[in-house]
Symmetry: C2
Subunit: 109 residues, 2 copies
Amino acid sequence: MTTPVLDLAFAALSDPTRREIVQRLAKGAARVTDLVQPFDMSFNAVSKHVKVLERAGLVRRTRTGREHHIALDPEPIRRIAGWASRYERFWSDRLDKLEVFLKANRKRD
Amino acid sequence: MTTPVLDLAFAALSDPTRREIVQRLAKGAARVTDLVQPFDMSFNAVSKHVKVLERAGLVRRTRTGREHHIALDPEPIRRIAGWASRYERFWSDRLDKLEVFLKANRKRD
DNA sequence: CATATATTCAACCTGTAGGTTGAATATAGC
DNA sequence: GCTATATTCAACCTACAGGTTGAATATATG
């Protein structure tokens, strides 16, 4: 029941619509209404997506009157990058790839 | 219906069990049976998790007899890191954070 | 050959994800 | 004050996720 940061962040970003929203917000904050435009989907659907992003901490909301301004909070993305960087050592490191492969087959010798 | 690389990779990694499996595989390939050990869950459940990782391209399977050797393929993680790095500019860059915040409020002036 | 081991496949269950529609709520503007 | 705008809330639907159990399948081993 912990559903920690990475769980929520990864899950939120697994949806292409939400990644597109994040990308859009990188260019500056926007109202929910502004975010709807590029999508072939109801306002409510986008509103829900924003809520998911908010729950994951990827987005901050500030209310001014009836308008909600949605701003990117890149911290969870940073966490993801941190998590991923543990595997940098493996990326296209052909020696390491070979090693992993050999280790798999060595067991049978 | 495209369900491209990032969709599947992010979704696969949103589950803590699967991230743990990935971490385990970073130390070397393993059979499905070997992967079950740390988890309080049926063999079949773990087998399913492995299948999800495989479908996401995070894992490669080589059959030798009745044993399946599961090896990490870090390429999708690299893709995620690449995606995340677009936002490096924002990470704890307080000037940028301020800018985003101001842009949100400027609209109302 | 008979049995133990490694694995998937298939059916099932419960919960949640992503979408819809139809209110309800609150603020803005004439 | 009335109407338009920005937004959430609530109910609903369908599909899929993550787990279970019980076969089925294929390879090792005495």
